[in-house]
Amino acid sequence: MISKTGLKSQLSTIYRRREFDVFIVIVIVMVVVGLRNPTFFTKENWKDMLMYVSILAFISIGQMMTIITGGIDLSVGSVLALSGMSVGMIMREYAFLHPIILILTGTIIGLSCGFLNGLLIGKGRIHPLITTLATMSIYRGLVVVVSRSLWVAYGDITPGFRLIARGNTLGINNLMFSALIIAIVSYYFLNHTRKGREIYAYGDHQEAAKFVGINGANINMLVFSISGMLAGFGGVLWVSRVHTAQANTALGYEMQTIASCVIGGVSIFGGVGNVIGVLLGTLLFGVILNSLELIGIVDFYKLSAQGFIILVAVIFDAIISHRVAEQMRKQRRIFNDGQ
């Protein structure tokens, strides 16, 4: 037998390099944009950007879990909007409700949406892409139903609700604090619990997962519920941050979460991805979006830029994984030379 230590360390360096690469790109983008527009480095800009990135980050972590199982959740944007709109409408009617109750309500709405996705995928055995493509439209339609064609405006937001996004916990802005806690819990869940590891195993090889007694339906219900729950929670924070909820809130948001995952090294084929990668991926994505805004690029180009970033990340991945495969082939010593 041949020792594989050399190859192994090489592999892990490549994995570690992914986070490093993303980090370097973040720094480069920041320097370039900072030089062109000094407002980039102001405290207000950073706060704004990080508040945006925070919500994106934890919804992307939920998205990552579905992608690790080999699926995808296209409905996160609609779930976010549905949760935000529902909570906003409830607030209009019952302004006295404590923000905590509203947060719980939004989260439960998201959880239910996600659970339904998981049920259709896990028990109904419908492909995740098809399922969430359908529910994306269904949930988006429900936003209009819930709103009765109205929208939640600045005046409807109670001061207490506004504080959800503006307030601090332990000296850190609530949104960033939430993202941090969710990231830590997710990291622990994915790396240190049996269920977490089963998610990776299931995404790696579904048939083999069956051989060790992993229940695929349960895994699907779990990850889609988590993804929906985080999107629902995000919906409440979103409305608190932007002070409005409309039928087209967070339209196309799923693309941003998927992009953050892909940039962060999550394999679209399942089985590979980690929280730190996704956090950096989201940060890079947020920095780029913010930069485009500061440089004065209009929304239309922003969308194209978004697609372009995904493309670059995917091509980058393809090149890297091809290289690794080739390297591994060449290092595999199968010949009986010299024996």
């Binding site: 020792s3 594989k4 049996r194 195993a201 083999a208 060790v212 591994m328 082939r329 010593r333 010949f335």
Partner: protein, 496 residues
């Protein structure tokens, strides 16, 4: 003898097909019980019922004296049943240690968090106690096929199982590693473990089994004691007929070389492979799974680029950059998995047969359907494809008939060199014989066939000449007259 596992009257249907029919089977304490039968006979289904992956439609599973039913693999694991599966069942992107313990990791009492350190240490000790050299933290995808098989074995052994199932555990091991595995198996047997051993290599069955049960077409044909074993008898029980009819190879006038491969190499796959393929010849390509045969075929077909060596067709050196060029040179490749390079499953038989040659029927971009149909019909009749008609979708055909369609396709395209990769894998005996007959007839017309097969009887029965590969190197050439199972196997295992 005390029985540790008894299956009574097990029947299992899969959407219409009867996979197992009223199967009775028993396993004693401290016994190695071999289960043999042809591909598709029902061995794997039986194993999956014992391990809880499938549930029987009727019948019962009795452990010692307790009747049990397993709703999933973990339930059977908890009852002390572990298995080494034939198909790769490892998680490529996870570490060796995690693969070994997936599904039953040790966790801390309150936090329920996995004891990673303890897991790596236990895996390290286990690997060491088996005297192999593997890093428990290495990712499985960085391992060779033989190393992966070892991980499978280690994984099953880690369970301290009362019942251990080995489904073709030796398929890609060297003789040394097989001896080692057998040593472990005998040790476990002496400790009272019941082992179910499945192998296609009858020599191994003779070497290690205490009893042999033969299964055919989902039914148990019989169980024989070690002392009464006899190869001819066993083969007859497995196949249900004697071997001659299965391999209808006719003697053909062998012509000059059509394909010559000189020192072909690809790092990590195969090294300095040289051979000639002659007109009218069936050249058998033997070796273990992972020996590099498929890789050589794919390189000749232009799927991968050679990193060294030359390919000659009809004496002229050629550079084959892609499969299209290979087809233009008259080379066709039927891959092991018929989906991949072979057939477009949702399309009908006509469309599949004429796919590579549509240009012939086209005028100004419009296809003459009449002419297309006529050509398809010709080959449909020639190859005796059994279907409801030319319009039947290929996905609804049986494996053997799919194989015929893909052969028809390349014959219609005037291929002179057919590379058949495991042409009869997973198809039933009757169709197998038909495919063999067809191969023989194709060779008679002066075309050349390179047949990759892991079934040694097929190699011996069908080949004019046999090349044996071992770990990426051509180790031996054997002529038809001097070929024996033992010679081919020894060479494939690298002992020649």
């Amino acid at each position: 003898m005390e029985s540790i596992l008894t299956l009574k009257n097990i029947t299992k249907k899969f959407t219409g097909t009867l996979a197992l029919s009223e199967v009775d089977f028993d396993l004693f304490l401290g016994e190695i019980h071999a289960l043999v039968g042809e591909n598709g006979a029902g061995k794997s289904t039986l194993i999956k019922i014992i391990t809880g992956i499938h549930q029987p439609d009727t019948g019962e599973i009795v452990l010692k004296s307790e009747t049990v039913s397993f709703h999933d693999a973990r339930a059977s694991y908890d009852h002390g049943i572990a298995a080494i599966y034939q198909e790769a069942s490892l998680f490529e992107d996870l570490s060796i240690a995690e693969n070994i313990y997936m599904g039953h990791q040790e966790v801390r009492p309150f936090t329920r968090s996995i004891k990673w350190g303890a897991m790596y240490n236990k895996a390290h000790d286990l690997i060491k106690s088996l005297e192999v050299n593997l890093d428990p933290r290495a990712l499985v995808k960085s391992l060779s096929i033989a190393e992966k098989q070892l991980v499978e074995i280690i994984k099953a052994l880690s369970a301290d199982a009362k019942i251990l199932i080995m489904d073709e555990p030796t398929a890609s091991l060297t003789r040394e590693e097989i001896d080692y595995l057998f040593k472990i198996a005998r040790k476990l047997r002496s400790e009272g473990t019941g082992i179910i051993f499945i192998s296609h290599r009858l020599e191994e069955v003779f070497e290690i089994a205490d009893r042999v049960t033969v299964i055919r077409d989902g039914k148990i044909v019989g169980t024989i004691d070690k002392d009464h074993l006899n190869v001819d008898e066993l083969v007859k029980m497995m196949v249900g007929r004697s071997l001659q009819t299965l391999y209808s190879k006719e003697d053909v006038q062998i012509g000059g070389p059509v394909l010559k491969v000189d020192c072909l190499s690809r790092a990590g796959e195969f090294n300095k492979v040289s051979f000639e393929l002659k007109r009218g010849e069936i050249l058998g390509f033997a070796g273990l799974v992972g020996a590099g045969r498929t890789e050589v075929a794919r390189t000749i077909f232009g799927v991968e680029k050679p990193e060294g060596g030359k390919i000659y067709i009809e004496g002229r050196e050629v550079k084959i950059e892609n499969p299209r060029q290979a087809l233009e040179l008259g080379i066709a490749y039927l891959s092991e998995s018929r989906g991949e390079f072979g057939l477009v499953l949702p399309l009908d038989i006509t469309q599949n047969i004429t796919a590579p040659i549509l240009k012939r029927f086209a005028r100004f971009g419009w296809i003459n359907r009449q002419k297309e149909r006529e050509t398809a019909q010709k080959f449909y009749d020639l190859l005796d494809i059994r279907a409801s008609g030319l319009e039947q979708k290929v996905e609804s055909l049986s494996g053997g008939n799919q194989q015929k369609v893909s052969i028809a396709k390349w014959l219609a395209a005037n291929a002179n060199i057919l590379i058949l990769d495991e042409p009869t894998k997973g198809i039933d005996v009757a169709t197998k014989a038909a495919v063999h007959r067809l191969m023989s007839e194709i060779a008679k017309t002066g075309k050349a066939i390179l047949m990759i097969s892991s079934e040694i009887p097929e190699i011996i029965g069908m080949s004019d000449r046999i090349l044996v590969m071992h770990e990426g190197v051509l180790v031996r050439e054997i002529t038809r007259s001097e070929a024996t199972q033992e010679k081919v196997l020894a060479a494939a295992l690298g002992e020649a």
